[in-house]
Each structure stands twice: as C-alpha cells, then as structure tokens.
C-alpha cells in the first residue's frame, strides 16, 4: 500500500521533471523539422534550452510604464501551464495527481495562464501588445465550445471528465471503427493544432518581456506546445501507458511509447505548419465545432438506440 503510494508520487515527480526537461527539446525538435522541410540548415535541438538558460541569468529591463503585473505574470503563467501539463498522463496512468486531473480544470488552468500572458502584454501600454492580447484571447474563445463538445463525447463514452479515466477507457476499449470518436479526435486535433500552431509562432511570448522573464515565457510557450501534443496523445493514442505503481521498468517502457507518440505528433505538426493550414483560425475552428457537434449528435442517436 505504502509502496504503491510512494510509487505514484515518485511517478508524478518524475513526470513533472520530464515535461519540464522535454518541453524545450520538443520546441527545438519542431524547429529542426521545420527547417528540414523547408530545406534550410537545421538548428540544434538544444537551442531553446540554451536560450532559456542564458536568458535566465540576464537582468530584465522593464518599460517605465510597466508595473507589478509584468513581474508576477511570468511566474503565474508558467506555474499554471506546468501544473496543467503535470495533470496530463504522459508515460503512466494513476499518478499521484490523477484525481485532480479533470479536463475542465486543465482547460481552466490554461485559461489562467492565457489571461496572465494577455495582461502582461497589455501592461506597458503599447499598441502591439494590446492587439496581440486580443488575438490570443479571441482564438481561445472560439476554441472553447469545440473543446466542450469534444469533452461531451468523451464523457458519454467513459462516464467521467477525469483525464485518467478517459484515457484508461479508450485504452481498454479499443475503438475500432468508432465514428463519433474519430470525429471528436479530428475536432480536438484541429483545436490542438490551432493552439499549437499559435504557440509555435515566434511571437508567442509577450513582446516587452526580457531577461529571466523572457526565459520563463519561452519555457511557458514550450510547455503549452507540449500540452497540445500530450493531450491528444493521452486521449486518442493511450497505448503504452503503464500503471504508475508498477515500478521503474514499466515506466521506462511507457516513456519510450510516450516519446514515440510525441515525435510522431510533432512531425505531423511540422508538416502542417509547412503547409500553412489553418490560416483563418475562426473559420477553421468553426469547422471543428461542426465536427464535434456531429460527433455528439451521433452519440445521442447511438445511446438512444442502445
């Protein structure tokens, strides 16, 4: 009993440390693949980490009109994205924080981090900052109904909005040719891609940030990118997840599967970025909303017949 609790706590800490370490690497990998696809010279995978580490030592320079929001927001935003990422199962199911890992809570934490970033953009009082805050938030507003409808389908399947429960359900009931789930997956993948593509832009950190604040914002952006890749990986490709109390050897297996999934999704993302797919995001998200609504309607019909 005590052993298994220790194991779940250890797995949780390991997961938290791993996502912290892997997020900038994943951003580096994406940049590398993007350069390869465009036929440019590839940057090193370690570049984002190097930059974050270097910036960490630099003293931030604040605009005279900036206030405490600029100083506090990077910590709030990074911590809440990190926490959201810790709640998404990576290599193991049933980690210590699994009961906390409600999809709505994860979406809420992302919203908190987004609000902090938008306020940091607006703090100094530049025109550009305000407009960037606005576009950041409007994309999120259009994405929210898609995510909720997708969640509805998953809740109808698994009976809970807890991420662990959903992942365990999908893993144990291999979904074969399941139309609603496929539609939901397409819709949520579209949202994830829209979100991740927004993150992968070079200007996804507040324009005024500098020094260690900039390092934190870069870390936050990398983590958000990773979250948008981890979430579909956990929801729709939950294979290779191991129970958290099975010990280090099983974990290692889970990690290999997790890394493979992440690299696969990152490759897909790099391909889509090269094609410049969702240029008009509201329309793109509107189409995703239709898919999700169709999936939910199909679920209603099938549960009604059952």
């Amino acid at each position: 009993m005590i052993l298994s609790i220790t194991a779940t706590v250890l797995a949780q800490w390991l997961h938290g440390a791993l996502v912290l370490a892997l997020a900038p690497l994943l951003a580096g990998l994406l940049a590398m693949m993007g350069a390869r696809l465009r036929g440019r010279r590839m940057p090193s995978v370690l570049d984002p980490w190097r930059e974050i580490w270097r910036r960490c030592r630099q003293r931030p320079v604040l605009a005279q009109t900036a206030g405490p929001v600029t100083r506090c927001a990077p910590y709030v935003a990074t911590a809440s994205t990190w926490l959201a990422l810790m709640l998404v199962p990576g290599f193991a199911l049933g980690m210590a924080l699994a009961p906390v890992g409600d999809v709505l809570v994860i979406l809420g934490l992302l919203g908190l981090s987004r609000a902090a970033a938008a306020l940091a953009e607006m703090d100094a009082g530049t025109a550009e900052g305000g407009l960037r805050a606005s576009s950041r938030l409007s994309v999120a507003a259009f994405a929210a109904p898609v995510l909720l409808l997708g969640l509805l389908v998953l809740v109808m399947l698994s009976g809970s909005s807890n991420l662990d429960t959903i992942a365990a359900y999908v893993r144990e009931n291999p979904p074969g040719p399941h139309v609603p789930l496929a539609l939901t997956a397409a819709a949520m993948l579209a949202v994830a891609l829209a979100g991740a593509l927004g993150v992968a832009d070079t200007d996804s950190v507040p324009a005024e940030a500098s020094g260690r604040h900039l390092a934190l914002w870069r870390l936050e952006a990398a983590m958000r990118l990773m979250l948008w890749l981890c979430l579909p990986a956990a929801l729709f490709l939950p294979w290779g997840l191991v129970p958290a109390d099975e010990g280090p050897l099983a974990w290692l297996l889970g990690m290999v599967a997790w890394l493979a999934k992440l690299v696969l999704l990152a490759g897909l993302l790099a391909l889509l970025r090269g094609r410049g797919l969702p240029a008009r995001r509201p329309q793109f998200l509107g189409a995703a909303l239709l898919l999700a609504a169709l999936a939910a309607a199909l679920m209603f019909v099938s549960t009604g017949l059952a």
Binding site: S138, V146, L216
Partner: protein, 660 residues
C-alpha cells in the same frame, strides 16, 4: 431571530429619517451597520434555519406579510447583507431623492429575500425597483428600467394569483400544500420565468440594464447589478422548484436551460462590445444571471427525470452561481464605482478614457482583478467552482435519454463555451484597459486610491470572494440545507474541493492551489539563484518603446492615447465574426474627400437588436410609463406615489384573489 429580523426591517424604514434630513454620514454608518446585521442574521440562519414564518403588521388582516428565514432565504440573505453593507460605505453627499432611495432599495431587497408569501416577495422586488428608478438621474434609462420591472412584477404577481386560486392563500406553506396542475402549472412556469427575466435582466429582456447601470450612482450600482437580478431569479426558482411541488414534468427545464445559455452568450458578447465601464458590468451581470438560470433549468430537467444526484449537483451549481453573481458581480461593481468616483465621470466613464490606474489605485486594481478573474470563471476563483458544477451537470444531461433534452444540452453547452470565452476576453480587456498601460486622459493620471471607508468596501468582499474560491466545499456544506429544502437530497462534496457523480470527476481546489504555489516558488527560486551568479539586481527600467509612433506632443506626458489599443480595437477579432449576427454591428472606413488633408475615419455602430424588437412590441406599455412619468420631477413624493400606487394595485389583486 425572526423578531430581530422584523425589528431590523423596521430599522431599515427608520433609515429614511436621516436620509430625509440629508444626514448622509449618519445614513452611511447606520445603513452599513444594519446591513452587516442582516449578513450576521443570514449566517446564523444558515446554521440554524427558522422556516416557521412570522407575520408582520403589514398588509390586510387576512393576509399579513410573512417573513421567515428558511435555508434558501438565509443562503441569499447573508451575501445580500454583506453587499448592502459595502455599498453603503460608498455613500456620498447627494440629493435627498438619491439618499432616500437608498434605504428603500435595501429594504426592498431584504424583504424579497426573506419573504414567505408571494405578495411580500413581489412587493419587495417592486419596492427595490422603484427605489432604483428614483435614484437614477438619467430619466430615460430609469423609465425603461421601471417599465421592465413593472412588467416583471405583474407577471410574477399573476403567477402567484393563479397558484393561490387553488391554494386559497399566498403563503408559501399553503402554496406548497396544493401545487397547480394542468394548464395552470404551465402558465405559472411561463409567468414566473417571464417575470424574473424582465425584473432581473435575463437575455433577451436585458435591454434596460446597460443604460440603468451606466446612470446609477456609485452606491446603487452594486445592488442594482448584483443583488436585484439574483433575487429576481430567486423568486422564479422558488416558484418553479419549490412552490409548484416536486411532481412537475422535466420539460419545464428546457426553457430556463436554453435561456440561460443564451444569456451567457449574449452577456459575454455584450461585455466585450460595450465601451463604458458599467456597460461591461451589465454584460457580466447578464452572463452571471444566465449561469444561475441554466442551473435552475438543469435541476428541473434532472428532477423531472428522477435523477436526484445530478439534480442536486445542478441545483448547488445554480445556488453557487447566484451567490457568486451577488458577491463577484457586486465586487466588480464596487471596484468600478470607486474607479469612477476617483478617476472619471461617475456616469458613463469609458474604457477609452482610462488607463494605467494600477499604479495609483492598487487596492481598487486588486479588488477588480479578483472580481474580474472570478467572473471570467478562471481557477482557483469562486466563479470557476460554480461553472464547474454547472458544466458537470450539462455533461450528464445526455443520461436523460430524451433527444429533446440532449440537443438542448448540446446547444446550451455550445453557447455556454463561447459565451464564457467571450466573457473572459471581456474581463481581461476591462482590467487591462482600465488598470494597465498608460493613462489616456490627464484626470486619470492624477487619480488617487479609494478613500477611507471605501477601502473596507473593496478589501473585505475581495477576501470573501477569495475564500469562497478556495473553500467551495465549505460553501457546499452551508448550502446543504437549501438544497435539501428545494430538492430533498444532499449535494456531494469533499473537504478538498467538489465532486460530481460516482465516476470520479473532481475539482480539488486545495491540492491545485498547493501544487501551484509550490511550482511558483520553485520557479522563483531557480530564477533567483541563477540570477545571483550573474547580474544580481532586480529589473532595470527603461523608457517605453512606442512601437514606431511619433513622439507625443509635450502636453501629453503619457503619450498619445491613440497609440494604445482601443476598446473597439480589442474586440475587433470577435466583432468581425460575431458582431453582425449577435449585435447588429456595422463598421466602415470613411475616406476624406479628394483634396482634403483630413485623415480617414473608422466609423462603427451597433444597436441592441433585442431592445429594438421589444421597442416595437411594447410601445403600449411605454406609453403608459410615459403617462405615469409626465410632468413629474423625481422627488421622494413621486417615488412614494408610484410605490404606493403599485401597492394599491397589488392589494386589489390580492383582495380579488382572496375573496372567499
């Protein structure tokens, strides 16, 4: 305790005396103390409810006004008392009408919260509405509000009259004992919803709210925006959930459910396109009221389908949303009132004239941030707890196995998601434009933080809201009695947070807070340690790079306001997609004529399509309202006359109904 309550209601009437002699400082202290007392009574009654009503020496002898403190009343009386107390602290020297209207407003609100018969309930709401009408200096907005309020009051009264025809009395106990059936029940549902929507400003009957709130004096706005809508919907909740008995069909829930989702969408959109502070507040209130109505609809739907656990869950979400509307919406209104008192015209302060206030007004900024994030339903604030419960209910609505309800829930979920996204954007825009950036006008640059008593009015409700967000399980424990009274089953909760159903969906706020605090401390520590090896000092300061705009003229020490984002510019990405369908928004660029040196101008306009449609529908009522208004200044006598006439009309209805 009921005797104390009755005495305090009498004390509320006595408050008219200092108001009549314009002793505003006495009124401020006395009203704050009295409302604090109501809050204390509410909390005590939450712990030990006293449902047996007490007859007040008011009204005809065969149907005296009844007041009582059952669990539902207590759940709403406690935040109402607190909000009234803090609003009173914002009182300033004013005209006699405005001062006299304030105690009347408080009296009406409290009366409607503790009423134990239909007549007293409607009387309280109408007294509050008439008092608010008298306090509004802008007559057009006041007239519109009064029209909506009287319509709502009449609808509610008609609903009670229909019910009492079978019960023989307007007392809640008698009404409960003989629930209506058949078409009467359907008519009661429609009348109650219509009445509450009109009185409280639920979309699509929200047209009066932006105007009325924009015109309201500082101390009236929190009550008009936070308390009156919540209490109006509480009246509908009592009617459709409690007084008409538990045997009503589940399709009753569809209308409030869809209306609620629609109100959240419209409220979020409205909050985003309005450019006045109070207009944004009105949008947020409409959205908050929508959440409350949505929970009511869900509870009805589940109860009719014999699903007790989700019904209790949805009901507790609704009750939490109602109290959050009072506390969160009220705190937002308080903070914006303070901003308007200190930095702008009290009526009609615009986002495009403010900016940078977090430097001068840290307390108001903090309070507005807490309220804004809570209204935007972000964790770990109180609004998220309410939204989480309601979403869990919506996500379970498919279990009713009826296509109508499933698709209603699907539509509501879509509207709710979009509306809450827009509301979050609106709250960030509000706070960012008012408190961040550079001042957009000289007066704003010289503003000072809240004076003496107003500080308390910002600090304590902020702490209360933070506490409610951190301990939603405590709130659930306190509302247990109310849920049991209305639904008959307890709502599930755990000490660490909220839980829904048996499948393990949980919102565990305390672990979330703890882990997040730990992560923040870790990040801070690492950044500091790393910095300690290099440049050690804190952040350096440098002049702002204005993004390439030319240097501002010397009379603009904070730069050209045109070089910051504008209220409309912030909303542009949403307006481009939703502006036309939801708000009749039109914009165009007007180029200067050839040869002119003027710049091109961007012109835009939008008009509330619902108000426009209603204007045509209700021209008759408008005429009547005009007639009542003609040739009359807003004096206390005028206010009393309208109130008295309303009482007489209601008494006549009552006498007709009660005739043996």
């Amino acid at each position: 305790m009921l005797l104390i309550l009755a005495l305090m209601l009498g004390g509320c009437c006595l408050l008219l005396l200092p108001a009549a002699f314009r002793l505003w400082a006495v009124l401020r202290v006395a009203a704050a103390l009295l409302m604090g007392g109501f809050c204390a009574v509410g909390v005590l009654a939450l712990l030990a409810p006293e449902p047996a009503p007490l007859a007040l020496p008011l009204g005809p002898p065969w149907a005296a006004a009844l007041v009582g403190l059952d669990a539902v009343s207590a759940w709403f009386l406690a935040p109402l008392g607190a909000l009234g107390c803090f609003s009173a602290l914002l009182l300033r020297p004013a005209t006699r009408t405005e001062l006299m209207a304030f105690p009347a407003l408080l009296l009406g609100l409290v009366l409607s919260a503790v009423a134990m018969d239909g007549y007293t309930l409607v009387l309280g709401l109408l007294v509050a509405a008439v008092a608010a009408w008298a306090a509004l200096p802008e007559r057009r907005a006041a007239r519109l509000m009064l029209g909506f309020a009287l319509t709502g009051g009449l609808c509610l009264m008609a609903g009670f009259a229909l019910m009492s025809a079978g019960a023989g009395s307007l007392g809640f106990a008698a009404l409960r004992a003989s629930p209506p059936e058949g078409w009467v029940a359907g008519a009661v549902l429609v009348l109650a919803l219509l009445g509450a929507a009109s009185l409280g400003g639920l979309a699509p009957l929200h047209g009066w709210m932006a105007g009325a709130l924009s015109a309201a004096p500082a101390q009236v706005a929190p009550l008009l925006g936070g308390a009156l809508p919540a209490l109006a919907l509480l009246a509908a909740l009592r009617v459709v959930l409690e007084l008409t008995g538990p045997a009503q069909p589940s399709w009753w829930g569809v209308a409030p459910l869809m209306l609620g989702g629609f109100a959240v969408l419209i409220g979020g959109f409205r909050a985003l396109v309005e450019d006045g502070l109070r207009g944004v507040l009105a949008g947020a209130v409409t959205a908050g009221l929508g959440l409350f109505a949505l929970g009511l609809g869900l509870a009805l739907l589940f109860r009719g389908s014999d699903m007790d656990v989700p019904a209790a869950l949805a009901l507790s979400g609704a009750l939490l949303a109602g109290v959050h509307l009072m506390l969160g919406g009220g705190l937002l209104a308080l903070a914006l009132s303070v901003v308007q008192m200190q930095a702008g015209p009290v009526a009609g302060a615009r986002l495009d004239a403010l900016g940078g206030l977090s430097h001068n007004m840290p307390l108001a900024a903090g309070a507005a941030l807490v309220a804004g994030l809570s209204v935007a339903a972000l964790p770990p604030f109180a609004g998220f707890a309410a939204l989480w419960l309601l979403l869990q209910g919506l996500l379970a609505a498919w279990r009713t196995q009826q296509a109508l309800y499933q698709f209603a829930a699907l539509g509501t979920l879509t509207m709710l998601g979009l509306g809450m996204g827009l509301l979050a954007m609106a709250m960030v825009r509000l706070w960012g434009m008012v408190f961040l950036g550079r001042p957009r006008s000289p007066r704003v640059a010289g503003a000072e933080d809240a004076p003496g008593p107003a500080r308390a009015a910002l600090l304590f409700p902020s702490l209360a809201l933070l506490g409610l967000g951190g301990l939603p399980s405590l709130a659930m424990a306190l509302m247990q009695g109310a849920v049991e009274q209305l639904m008959g089953g307890p709502a599930p909760a755990s000490i660490l947070g909220l839980a829904a159903g048996d499948a393990g969906a949980r919102y565990l706020v305390l672990p979330i807070l703890a882990v997040m605090a730990g992560l923040m401390a870790l990040l801070w520590w690492v950044a500091r340690r790393r910095a300690a090896r290099g440049a050690t000092a804190g952040p350096a300061e440098a002049p702002l790079w204005q993004g390439g705009f030319q240097a501002p003229p010397p009379h603009m020490p904070f730069g050209d306001p045109q070089s910051q984002v504008s209220a409309e510019g912030f909303a542009a990405p949403v307006l481009a997609v939703l502006g036309g369908p939801l708000g009749g928004y039109q914009s165009r660029v007007v180029a200067a004529p050839p040869g002119s040196l003027a710049t091109a101008r961007h012109e835009s306009r939008w008009r509330d399509p619902f108000l426009k449609g209603l204007g045509r529908l209700t021209s008759l009522r408008h005429q009547a309202s005009l007639l009542a208004e003609r040739g009359r200044l807003p004096s206390p006598r005028a206010a009393l006359r309208v109130g008295f006439a309303a009482v007489v009309v209601l008494l006549v209805i009552l006498a007709l109904v009660e005739r043996p």
